[in-house]
Symmetry: C2
Subunit: 143 residues, 2 copies
Amino acid sequence: MTKERMVNRIIGAGLKNTKYRVNIIEMLSKTDELVSAQEIYNRLLKKSIFINLSTVYRTLDILVDNKILNRVTIEGEKQSFYEYNRDIHHHFLICRGCNKIIPIYDCPLEDYEQKLKSESGFVITGHRVEFYGYCDECRKNLI
Amino acid sequence: MTKERMVNRIIGAGLKNTKYRVNIIEMLSKTDELVSAQEIYNRLLKKSIFINLSTVYRTLDILVDNKILNRVTIEGEKQSFYEYNRDIHHHFLICRGCNKIIPIYDCPLEDYEQKLKSESGFVITGHRVEFYGYCDECRKNLI
DNA sequence: ACGCAAATGCAAATCATTTGCATCTAAATT
DNA sequence: AATTTAGATGCAAATGATTTGCATTTGCGT
Ligand SMILES: [Mn+2]
Ligand SMILES: [Mn+2]
Ligand SMILES: [Zn+2]
Ligand SMILES: [Zn+2]
């Protein structure tokens, strides 16, 4: 993911090319972690990038609206998380021990959605799936 | 669900039997809707039951801790919703048009969880699944 | 009826997120 | 290159759901 491609995605969405937008896209495109707004702010600060927290929020909103990022909400967590949108349908495995969030690039629901559609009359436009449990490491610490 | 059984669930959990706890359990046990704390407050008010909103929250917390109710969070909604816990594993179908939430008493993930367990080394303790789309009625209004 | 721990009411605090408004900047236009 | 202006940003204050501290009340065992 070159800086040029990021700028192209920003401009392509009809947005102004600003350093903070590039910074945020850059950070998220380099990880598959889910990162909160506050954590984005903290990580930028660590790199001496002085963005205002409300600009972080506004930037995230706009980038989500333009499908450059995804907003993800996790059961039991009050803040939202963000990830770079790679246009790869996926779900999450979430450790209740260490709060690690692991993406799963696999979907068990494709067939089921068809079934649901015919049974319910609903037009299904998407779904969300999360698995909860304990990762290898945390499992060991469960006494 | 008789009032006596509700009182038994409360006492069985080691809690004091109070009118508000019974009122809230009673309300939720009579519907399969997901209801927010504020909406619970409003519905009680309509029946001239004058509970304080913070008591609603505290009661919900305790009843969730004691597995008498379930707390449910919905993608894109900031408040939590509550349902009576019937100990029946289920998921939800959510209409993006009218925000109707329909429980689905069926689970497409039982086999998949096993697979995931062996592949990831995770101990899986639960999952969450939601389907989003448009119900019959709202589909018609989609131009 | 008495005593105490638990439950409640009320007001204030908290926390993530949003907003109003003044100022600044990207980038289109002269 | 200077000018213009819509859109972006900073800052402080507002918001909305939820939580908390503390005084008062209530359920329930004695
Ligand atoms: Mn899927
Ligand atoms: Mn299931
Ligand atoms: Zn873990
Ligand atoms: Zn609908």
